[in-house]
């Protein structure tokens, strides 16, 4: 293997771009975190390193594009996966028209719907974890905080996190983006189920601290 090049220093892992048996790959290496106790750190990193590729594999079965996993090296807490050539949805949202944004978010919503229907929650639905490849396919990355569950609560939290991520990073069009995503989401899950998830999101919001909805009731 040629010398890997550091592509991104993330919070949880370093991403290196490398050439692996003639393929362009990403090495995702979860490095020890000095701040937490060694035992806790090892458990967290080991769990996520094994768990993430499993969920990525499951996501494919649900019909949601994720990078191909080539190797899981749990000893070095490293995953070797396909490099997705494309653009982060985080940047893309700022560069496209309102109509394009709506259809992009609608499609993202559909994909989240497929994940949830299959029994997966992503756990970190930010726009930097979504990449659109040149032909238009949207890839989901970073399943480290994901889970296999069909619980309403987990689904609600998943979408609530996405809403919050949109509000903090894309505050100019957070509401329209989330609305389109929900429209897409609702086409996949049965209407009764998606209604329940939407109710759950509202409940989670009310549970939260200092929210407008609760304020109105005072």
């Amino acid at each position: 293997m040629k010398q890997p090049v550091l592509m991104k220093k993330g919070a949880e892992a370093n991403l290196y771009l490398a050439d692996w048996n003639g393929r362009k790959v990403v090495l995702k290496k979860r490095l020890p975190k000095e701040y937490r106790p060694k035992l806790m750190d090892e458990q967290i990193r080991a769990y996520r390193t094994i768990h993430e590729p499993q969920l990525m594999h499951e996501a494919k079965k649900a019909g949601v594009p994720t990078p191909i996993i080539f190797l899981v090296d749990h000893k070095n807490t490293t995953i070797i996966m396909e490099y997705i050539e494309g653009k982060q949805v985080k940047q893309l949202l700022n560069e496209i028209s309102k109509n394009q944004r709506q259809s992009l978010c609608f499609r993202i919503g559909e994909l989240i719907g497929r994940l949830h229907e299959y029994g997966i929650v992503h756990g970190d639905l930010t726009t930097s974890n979504l990449i659109q490849r040149s032909e238009g396919k949207i890839f989901f990355l970073d399943f480290g905080l994901g889970d296999k569950t069909k619980e309403l609560e987990a689904r609600g939290v998943d979408l609530h996190l996405m809403k919050r991520a949109l509000q903090s990073t894309h505050y100019k069009f957070a509401d329209e983006c989330f609305e389109s995503a929900i429209e897409g989401y609702s086409t996949i899950l049965k209407s009764e189920t998606s209604e329940n998830v939407l109710d759950k999101i509202r409940e989670i919001e009310r549970r939260g601290r200092y929210v407008a909805e609760r304020k109105e009731r005072e």
């Binding site: 919070a11 701040y35 806790m40 930010t126 939290v157 990073t169 505050y171 549970r207 601290r209 304020k215």
Partner: protein
């Protein structure tokens, strides 16, 4: 506006959102001349809002007098009165607001309602000299990771249920610890944790950039009641787990926003172990680390006074009829005209 120089103009700030009643006085160029804090310590249990409010009403004139004396600023020389308008406990906020309204009316000077969370960040920046930090604000009522962007403070991560300080306090109470003035629950847990050695596995819940602490609290209380481990080990495990969670989301927000300053504030900021964890991630991402001095990190009047200066000098005035307290005033709702 008068043509007096900034160092000769003064704002008096009143903070009363929870268990502290405090009055601070700041010059218009950010010199803190007084910061008097009187804490309500319940004999038993948590903060009862009405009892805390009664405490605030009882000590208000004493604390005001002490702040005036400490600063050497006679009330007629004040230019503006600022008060903590929310978020917080209703009866407590209302007591401070009443004092503020009375003072402003009597002295015939403007009143400014201040968001408590904004004040924590602004005093932190003033005291540490940071310009545009990612802020971790951890207290008995709040746990959030915040950064300024396009006119407002944006909340990147927060607790999905209870605050970090609340988690430590409730555990300490359940474990039968007793806080004293100057030795709050957090400090007691920190001290015990220092002699803890064994790390016991507890629920670790990070969801995106948010944390959930209520499951951890339930588990740690149950663990303590089982009596299989020493209180020291339980405190140690609680701190290590809870602090690792907030540190992880801070690091996530730091990588996401790419800021080069990290500011730690709020009552829990006094904890040395938490400081060392946040310092570690700041270093890892080549960011400067600052922690707000404890007297300005806990709830205090100086932060309200200084934020009052910022708001007032940028055109914010709160009419008496619009000065009702806002129990759930979210940080993101506040426009910040003094930052670009």
């Amino acid at each position: 506006m008068t043509d007096k120089r900034a160092e000769e103009r003064y704002c008096l700030g009143i903070e009363s959102s929870a268990d502290d009643f405090s009055v601070g006085i700041s010059t218009f160029n950010g010199k803190i001349l007084a910061n008097v804090i009187d804490a309500y310590v319940p004999a038993e249990g948590g903060i009862h809002p009405r009892e805390a409010a009664r405490h605030h009403a009882d000590v208000a004139s004493k604390v005001l007098g002490a702040a005036v004396e400490e600063s050497g600023v006679k009330p007629p020389k004040l230019s503006v009165i600022a008060f903590s308008q929310g978020p917080g406990l209703g009866p407590c906020l209302r007591t401070g607001a009443t004092v503020a309204r009375a003072l402003a009316s009597y002295l015939k000077i403007p009143l400014v309602g201040i968001n408590h969370c904004v004040a924590h960040i602004e005093i932190g920046k003033l005291e540490t000299g940071t310009k545009n930090p990612l802020t971790l604000y951890v207290s008995g009522g709040n746990t959030m990771v915040v950064a300024f962007d396009a006119g407002r403070y944006r909340v990147f991560g927060e607790t999905l249920d209870i605050a970090l300080g609340n988690c430590l306090d409730v555990f300490a109470r359940e474990a039968g610890l007793h806080q004293k003035p100057g030795l709050p629950f957090g400090a007691l847990v920190e001290k015990l944790a220092q002699s803890g050695k064994q790390l016991i596995k507890l629920p670790y819940t990070v969801k995106g950039m948010d944390v959930s602490l209520s499951g951890l609290l339930t588990a740690v209380v149950a663990l303590f009641r089982k009596g299989e481990y020493s209180l020291e080990d339980v405190c140690f495990s609680l701190q290590e787990t809870a602090f690792s969670m907030v540190t992880e989301v801070t690091e996530r927000a730091l990588a996401h926003t790419g800021r080069d300053e990290v500011l730690l504030t709020g009552g829990v900021a006094a904890n040395k172990r938490l400081q060392s964890m946040i310092r570690s991630v700041a270093r890892e991402h080549n960011a400067r680390f600052d922690v707000v001095p404890t007297r300005f990190a806990i709830d205090n009047g100086a932060m309200i006074a200084w934020t009052g200066v910022l708001a007032y000098t940028h055109g914010t005035v709160t009419a008496i009829e619009k000065s009702q307290v806002r129990l759930r005033w979210r940080l993101e709702e506040v426009e910040i005209p003094w930052l670009q």
